[in-house]
């Protein structure tokens, strides 16, 4: 309810934490009822725990009051994963920022509020870094990365967040603090750790993660390639991988995006090119040299008109700044944007991009593309002005078509942003009722009362099959 008067729930939370970290003024509730996407929600109260014990106390308190719990990091998500769909206790984890590095094992225990880039900065003196590097890495948190199994340009060779998590401490739906996984490999038993990663705050609240730290590569080469046709860029991506090389990153931008970025960053991107590829090879100096030569040769065969290798770290950083600032650059084109995230088999990139442009044209929308071409992870972005009546509806209709096009090409709903609210009702495009029921049962095993982040990931009615067999004694301890 939209009241600023104290309630029994507020009082109990204040005694669990303290008054300064329990907020229920209208402005706080509005601020924390939204993520970086377009859908607002309904926060009843916002809390800022500073330890796992406090998170546990919050979960227990909320349960006593029959109030759902929605965990939240920096709120950079675009899929509505942190948006409370009904009045809820929003648990903001950004005050939990401890890092304990275990250099000998190349690991670190990291609290969920640590910002992704801060972790790699912290371990830089040791020559180690956290490999997942979403474009939002200067703002997004490790807890959010775990919740969404975040990727980034460099997950092409290194894998997404789940490949970099050895263990998790989390608070379960009964408010108990649990640990799954270990610094030792293959903890006996079912891999609960793997299920928690990417579960979008619906199975538990992660309070610490034991992350893998990756040695910095001894050599890096970053190459900017421009092509007169999208086909040439796509064929280069396929050709490089077919030649047995998986580069550290293979990023593509189309002309509208390149123009926007160049106006914003002035990195010397070729604005006349139909497609620009940013390729990065890392590793042993001898490998980097050979692999860079291979990338350049294949790009040449595919008609590249620009081939520019970053001469030094400064130029390399400038090229990456162009790539990672792409979404900021769009602000110059229009006041609002809607960024999508789907994956298609890499070999279908060209036909899917043709389809994307057709969708944009049909809905009279400006579309820009910047994406992880190496793993077929598309990020079509529609720039628009939400104050024009009917525009947001057109954007959302186009978005649904984009997802359908991707699934029809053999792809999936999301590569790294998650399902959240945004794609929840599109899940049946990929999964049968029985598949969704299987996922719903798994969720129930963690959270039988539906405490955590209700209304996310699975469409309502997913739990639809019941074979009616008795459960053996002791199975539901």
């Amino acid at each position: 309810m939209a009241t600023t008067a104290s309630t029994p729930l507020h009082d109990d939370l204040v005694s669990a934490l303290d008054a300064s970290r329990v907020r229920f003024r209208a402005i706080d509730r509005a601020l924390y009822a939204k993520d970086a996407g377009v859908t607002p929600g309904d926060a009843e109260v916002v809390v800022f725990p500073e330890s796992a014990a406090e998170v546990a106390a919050v979960v227990k308190t909320a349960a006593r009051h029959g109030m759902p719990v929605v965990p939240r990091g920096a709120g950079t998500g675009l899929a509505g994963g942190a948006v409370p769909t009904e009045p809820a206790v929003v648990v903001v984890l950004t005050r939990m920022t401890g890092i304990v590095v275990d250099e000998a094992n190349r690991m670190a225990w990291v609290e969920p509020g640590v910002i992704n880039l801060d972790l790699s900065r912290h371990t830089r003196p040791l020559g180690l870094h956290f490999a997942p590097d979403p474009s939002s890495q200067a703002a997004c948190t490790i807890g959010g990365n775990v919740a969404n199994n975040s990727g980034g340009p460099h997950c092409l060779a290194e894998g997404t967040t789940v490949n970099h998590i050895h263990a998790l401490e989390f608070v379960d739906s009964r408010g108990e603090i649990r640990v799954v996984g270990s610094a030792a490999p293959d903890t006996p038993g079912l891999d609960v750790r793997g299920v928690l990663v990417g579960s979008e705050g619906t199975l538990g609240i992660v309070t610490r993660a034991l992350v893998k730290l990756t040695p910095d590569p001894p050599a890096v080469r970053t190459i900017l390639l421009g092509f007169p046709e999208v086909e040439g860029a796509a064929a280069t991506v396929s050709g490089v991988i077919a030649a047995g090389v998986v580069p550290a990153a293979l990023e593509m931008m189309d002309r509208p995006m390149t123009e926007a970025v160049e106006r914003f960053v002035h990195a010397g991107f070729p604005t006349e090119a139909a497609a620009v590829l940013l390729a990065e090879v890392t590793g042993h100096p001898a490998a980097v040299e050979a692999e860079a030569a291979l990338v350049e040769r294949i790009a040449g065969e595919q008609g590249a008109t620009t081939v520019r290798t970053a001469a030094d770290d400064a130029e390399r950083e400038l090229l990456w700044k162009g790539r990672k600032a792409a979404f900021g650059a769009v602000a110059q084109a229009a006041p609002d944007y809607y960024l999508h995230d789907t994956v298609v088999p890499r070999t279908r990139l060209v036909e899917v991009m043709t389809g994307l442009y057709a969708i944009a044209e049909r809905h009279d929308l400006l579309m820009l593309n910047v994406f992880h071409a190496g793993d077929g992870n598309l990020h079509p972005l529609m720039a628009f002005d939400a104050s024009e009546p009917g525009t947001l509806e057109r954007v959302q209709a186009a978005g649904a078509e984009i997802v359908r096009l991707s699934v029809e090409a053999g792809g999936v709903l999301s590569g790294e942003h998650g399902i959240g609210l945004e794609k929840r009702d599109l899940m049946p495009l990929m999964f049968s009722p029985m598949d969704l029921d299987g996922q719903a049962r798994l969720r129930e095993a963690f959270d039988p009362g539906g405490v955590f982040n209700p209304g996310k990931v699975l469409p309502s009615g997913s739990r639809c099959f019941d074979f009616g067999r008795p459960v053996p004694d002791g199975a539901w301890v």
């Binding site: 030792a184 038993g189 990417g198 590793g283 070999t347 999936v412 999301s414 199975a475």
Partner: protein, 374 residues
């Protein structure tokens, strides 16, 4: 039982099979497709019959012993279903042997990065046993290859999760949950695996200081051996392999000659944080054969029964105090009665039970095989 026997005989006529080495069971059946597999599990749940899935029998020494009513042989759930070499994905039936799959992939210089010496092992079996290869140091454990899985659940549902692309966060990660599930949730009828290109060149370098080698070599496939001598496995372009071998400074030979698991009556694995592999080697009794995966935190060991007792008491106790485990991979029957296969049960037993029940509500899939008797 008689009417049930005739019902099963009628429904699965022609699907009777052999499973050499499997424990005695009333029925040994190789379902001919995923629907038949699901139907058999449905009947098992209906009648409370215990099911033991059986691939090549390579990993059946793991976990608590199971006395099955039905041995479900996966040999007919085999074959490549959808192979996209340019997308680095392959969909295969769970009963496909690792050897057959790798042969198919080798034509395009690709690999599924499954165990290097698979024996008769199947893809489904390697995944269910979380049997990671030596190359895990570079490519991660077998679970990191799991893109999509179709499980025939303990109660006969066919549940597909994940997708056929190399990156995906659509829904819960049931494919990874299948890795290491040891048949406790159901049968892996098919799966989509992420592939990796094989390097154009490779070499094996003998070194006397594996910890130093881990610091010198960049992304080696593996560093494996014992405290006195280890081998560094390199792969990449010819010039890189040559340069890395020179950096390491040991004797290099072309190609990859993977270690075999040590031989002995009892076999198992000590798992500890990677920096403690040297300690683990020091603690293993002299009578045990060992191969360590440096940088991973794993020592595979094998021995006669007496040294094995020392491993399963003293080394196990130590490994658990440092957050690891000491597990049995294979042993004579008597030893399973003497020692738990896994050691101390995990602290999440309640959750493990509930997850199992989500897939196998009647509890017919390999009861007692997982840690803590789950």
């Amino acid at each position: 039982m008689t009417s049930l026997r005739s019902l099963v005989a009628r429904l699965f006529d022609g699907a009777e099979a052999d499973a050499p080495g499997a424990p005695d069971a009333d029925f040994v059946i190789a379902p001919r497709d995923r629907d038949e597999a699901a139907r058999l599990l449905d009947i098992a749940s209906e009648h409370g019959l215990v099911v033991l899935p059986w691939g090549g029998g390579e990993h059946q020494g793991m976990g608590g012993r199971v006395e099955p009513d039905i041995v479900l042989v996966t040999s007919s759930l085999d074959g490549v279903i959808d192979y996209q070499p340019e997308d680095l994905t392959v969909v295969v039936g769970g009963g496909t042997t690792v050897t057959d799959l790798e042969e198919t992939l080798a034509e395009h210089h690709l690999t599924a990065v499954l165990p290097e010496h698979p024996g008769d092992g199947t893809v489904g079996g390697a995944i269910a046993a979380a049997a990671s290869p030596w190359r895990r140091l570079r490519y991660g454990p077998v679970r990191d290859r799991m893109l999509q899985v179709t499980l025939a659940t303990g109660d006969g549902r066919l549940v597909t999760a994940g997708g056929r692309v190399v990156k995906n966060v659509t829904g819960y990660d049931i494919p990874r949950l299948g890795a290491g599930s040891l048949g406790s949730l159901g049968v892996i009828v098919d799966t989509c695996i992420k592939l990796w290109p094989r390097g154009e060149a490779s070499a094996t370098v003998v070194v006397d200081d594996p910890e130093r080698a881990l610091g010198v070599a960049h992304k080696p496939l593996a560093v494996a051996g014992d405290a006195r001598e280890a081998r560094v496995y390199l792969s990449g372009t010819a010039r890189e392999v040559e340069a890395q071998a020179a950096d390491l400074g040991g004797k290099a030979t072309s190609g990859l000659s993977w270690p075999h698991d040590p031989a002995g009556e009892v076999a198992g694995v000590v798992r500890v944080p990677p920096a403690l592999v040297g300690d683990a080697l020091d603690r293993l009794p002299a009578g045990a054969g060992v191969v360590a995966a440096f940088g991973v935190g794993e020592v595979r060991w094998a021995s006669d029964t007496d040294p094995a007792r020392t491993v399963l008491t003293e080394v196990r106790a130590w490994s658990e105090t440092v957050g690891g485990s000491t597990v049995i991979a294979r042993a004579p029957d008597g030893l399973y009665a003497e020692f738990d296969s896994w050691g101390s049960p995990p602290s999440t037993l309640d959750l493990q039970r509930r997850i199992k029940a989500a897939f196998d509500p009647a509890g017919v899939m390999v009861p007692g095989r997982l840690p803590g008797g789950v």
